[in-house]
Symmetry: C2
Subunit: 105 residues, 2 copies
């Protein structure tokens, strides 16, 4: 993962609405949630939510599929894995023993 990609993924999560949104999608699992349901549950107007979803999709943390008139969004676990791997690597660089997450494993 390149620095720019990491920055984009971090920026996508560095906003309260989007972090809450992402958590909701992670909890929803593979089935995902429609844009409308997300808008309603989060109390965010459709246009605003669409902007945030686009940001997360572009950062490869969320994916979408179309089902009829509905667009279903779901967490992209692979993208999140890459981000966590990047952070873990750079957190531990030079001295792995300093990094608790690795010690715990």
């Amino acid at each position: 993962m390149k620095v720019i990609e990491a920055v984009e993924a971090l920026a996508a999560l560095a906003q309260e609405s989007r972090l809450v949104l992402f958590r909701m999608l992670v909890q929803a699992g593979k089935d995902g949630v429609s844009a409308g349901e997300l808008s309603e549950k989060l109390g965010i107007p459709p246009a605003t939510l669409s902007f945030h979803l686009k940001t997360l999709v572009h950062a490869k943390l969320v994916k979408s599929r179309t089902e009829g008139r509905f667009v279903i969004y779901s967490a992209n676990y692979a993208g999140m894995d890459k981000l966590i791997a990047y952070l873990t690597e750079h957190c531990c660089a030079g001295d792995a023993a300093q990094c608790a997450p690795v010690k715990k494993c």
Copy 2:
């Protein structure tokens, strides 16, 4: 870790100069690096760098100590651990098997 704290830590890292800066501090280890040396190595003017350092310190990802006229900055591994733990938890919530970082452990 609360959502707001996670957002602040993510935002602190979601900027290229700061992510590169943080990586440099992680690699430098406990000894840390002075503000001036960071400014020179990164090619960022002192005032701008000071702004970025303040952002990282406020997010608890970096700490500083004063040595004479110098201010030495170093990575706060504990803070980074908390962020990674938060992300790992919320990445895996609901179905731990989906999350590669956990499977690898």
